[in-house]
């Protein structure tokens, strides 16, 4: 369950969950690569001048607006607190104290919160995959009675703004009906609601639907059971879609804030986001250490993004978007 930024997939374009990121752009003026402004217009002297000035301005502007804040965060963390508080601030650190990162890691207990978050993300990812693949496979290949109804009820949950469920879902986690257990401050409070992910199920089912039934039938004629077919045929063929679902599962859990804020109030078990919020509100952490904490909280997401750029941007264009 993503409480803060519900993913709202436009349903139409999902047929191929990971399309190529960019279309090849033919060299000439003609064909699909053509945009608003033609290459002929750009080749004129005036066109060239305008184009390169716009390109320069946009490059500088993008660097300043989108990258500079990150530079500020990383370098702010290595300044001495006195330099950090200077007016006007220094743009290139004059003092260099990389040990602020180590201090944050130890003194703010970032190590623990970082570990917690990794644990929640990995566990949530695995549970989401197991639960959602099971549902999608059953709906797509076993076609049980009432299958359409079940899928419909699950997809209906995409219509629910997460905000609407906040209070009753919290009470449910605090005292799970039938089982009568309290999941507050346990990883299950994050994992189980996250597993109820209709978007994943929909994407997986659409992908499984494209796998020809003949392939599965011939495997069952050879004596493979349904589970073996799933494991040895369907899943290997579904690598790309499983990849996209996995990346978004991990990102979703890492970025979530409001739900963990509610269900993980015990400071020992909090995620790094909730802990940073609490430390910023209640304690007198030196700003340089806080900056280091912010950087540490961002690093895994930035690494994931740099590695999986193509799938993330492709998956985004295919439809899923965070708020």
């Amino acid at each position: 369950m993503t409480i803060t930024a519900p993913s709202r997939p436009p349903l139409p374009k999902l047929a191929d969950p990971a399309p190529a990121r960019r279309r090849p752009r033919p060299a000439g003026d003609h064909g699909a690569g053509r945009t608003l402004i033609s290459d002929t217009e750009l080749r004129r002297t005036r066109g060239k001048v305008v184009y390169f000035s716009v390109l320069t301005v946009v490059t500088i502007l993008f660097s300043l607006v989108f990258l500079f804040p990150l530079y500020w965060m990383v370098t702010g963390a290595v300044k001495e607190p006195a330099e950090f508080a200077l007016t006007p601030p220094t743009f290139i650190p004059e003092t260099f104290e990389p040990q602020n990162y180590a201090l944050a890691w130890d003194r703010m207990n970032i190590a623990r919160y970082f570990g917690n978050t990794v644990f929640y993300a990995v566990g949530g990812w695995l549970i989401q995959l197991v639960v959602d693949v099971g549902v999608a496979y059953a709906l797509s290949k076993l076609r049980p009675i009432f299958g359409k109804l079940v899928l419909g009820l699950m997809l209906a949950s995409l219509m629910l703004p997460a905000a609407a469920l906040l209070i009753p879902a919290y009470l449910t986690v605090a005292d799970v009906p039938i089982f009568g257990v309290n999941l507050l401050n346990t990883p299950w409070a994050l994992w189980l609601p996250a597993a109820a992910n209709a978007f994943n199920i929909y994407v997986l089912k659409r992908f499984f639907d494209q796998i020809p039934n003949d392939l599965l039938d011939s495997a069952s004629l050879d004596g493979a059971g349904r589970l073996r077919v799933l494991w040895h045929i369907v899943l290997p063929l579904s690598r790309p879609v499983l990849g996209v679902v996995s990346i978004f599962a991990v990102i979703g859990i890492w970025k979530d804030f409001l739900w963990p804020l509610l269900v993980l109030q015990d400071t020992e078990v909090q995620t790094i986001s909730v802990a940073l919020s609490r430390l910023s509100n209640t304690s007198q952490v030196p700003p340089t250490e806080m900056m280091a904490g912010l950087v540490i909280a961002s690093i895994p997401m930035i690494i994931i993004f740099l590695i999986f750029q193509r799938s993330i941007i492709g998956g985004l264009s295919a439809g899923s978007m965070k708020g």
Partner: protein
């Protein structure tokens, strides 16, 4: 004859057995999923509505109070403030977060260099945990030695109180939120722009259309569908704004209290009134439900 009939009956029985087996297996595969949905999605929806008509005090069992929760909400001046603030936030977020990505996407689609760099740069903030963005901007907004005032003063403009003054607090929140989120909309526009057939531009150019006319009469009409989809997505997402006011201005500041902040406040701070919070959630759900229905209808017809 009899033998064939017996054989048919036999095979029909086998088919039936197989069908039953498949159904049992299917529901075994789906059991965990159905349980998760039932517990954390379907049941809470019903319970939320029930709760909104109940008094919850943790001493006795919840008891029925009819419309009392809603009456209490309407009598609370903060309730109206929260709605007003939320609408202002959503409106401002649309002005920035809806038009700016469109402009950026059209511009980036024309640039032939550094495509990878632009995409990464614009989407990088979306990847950061929201709390990181908000806390970082807290330092930027600092009226004393914050970066923003330093820059303003540097070019000879007076500084601002940013989040700490009632006249600028809301816009400061919108700026953070826009910075953090516009990458998503930008990339979706960019994808839509790339699917516009080049022939349309070619034909317009042959007819003597200037760049502005092409933008106005080819690009914008071709983007109409995605613009409508993004408009609804944006409204639904921004009306649930929480982390910016929660972290930057606190839950007690009437200048920036939003619907979600007030729900949080009713339920988890002083009041501990889950019935009141649930009633407010139901109202938010009704409002957002209208947009969701529109959205679903739109994407359905497109399919």
């Amino acid at each position: 004859m009899a033998v064939i009939e017996a054989g048919l009956r036999e095979s029909r029985r086998a088919q039936l057995r197989r069908k039953i087996q498949d159904n049992l297996l299917a529901y075994a595969f789906m059991a965990a999923g159905i349980a998760c949905f039932a517990l954390f999605s379907w049941y809470p929806l019903v319970r939320g509505v029930v709760l909104s008509f109940q008094q919850v005090n943790f001493v006795t069992d919840p008891y029925w109070v009819g419309l009392d929760n809603f009456r209490a909400l309407f009598a609370d001046p903060l309730f109206w403030t929260a709605w007003k603030n939320t609408i202002v936030f959503t409106g401002l977020a649309l002005v920035f977060g809806y038009l700016v990505p469109l402009a950026i996407a059209v511009l980036l689609n024309e640039l032939r260099h550094f495509k990878g760099f632009f995409r990464v740069a614009v989407y990088l903030p979306v990847m950061l945990p929201p709390i990181v963005v908000v806390l970082l901007f807290k330092y930027f907004y600092d009226p004393g030695n914050g970066l923003f005032n330093t820059i303003l003063n540097g070019v000879g403009l007076p500084g601002s109180q940013w989040t700490q003054s009632s006249s600028t607090a809301m816009i400061s929140l919108v700026l953070v939120s826009t910075w953090a989120n516009l990458g998503g909309a930008t990339l979706m526009y960019l994808a839509a722009l790339q699917s516009i057939p080049g022939e349309l531009y070619e034909a317009a150019e042959l007819d003597g259309a200037t760049i502005w006319q092409r933008l106005r009469h080819v690009t914008i009409p071709q983007l109409r569908f995605i613009m409508l989809v993004l408009l609804l997505m944006q409204i639904i997402a921004t009306m649930q704004v929480f982390i910016e006011p929660f972290q930057l201005t606190g839950t007690t500041n009437p200048d920036t209290v939003t619907v979600m902040v007030l729900i949080y406040r009713y339920a988890f701070t002083v009041n501990n009134d889950f019935g009141l919070a649930a009633a407010m959630s139901v109202l938010l759900f009704v409002v957002l439900g209208a947009f969701s229905a529109l959205y679903l209808r739109l994407t359905r017809t497109a399919e």
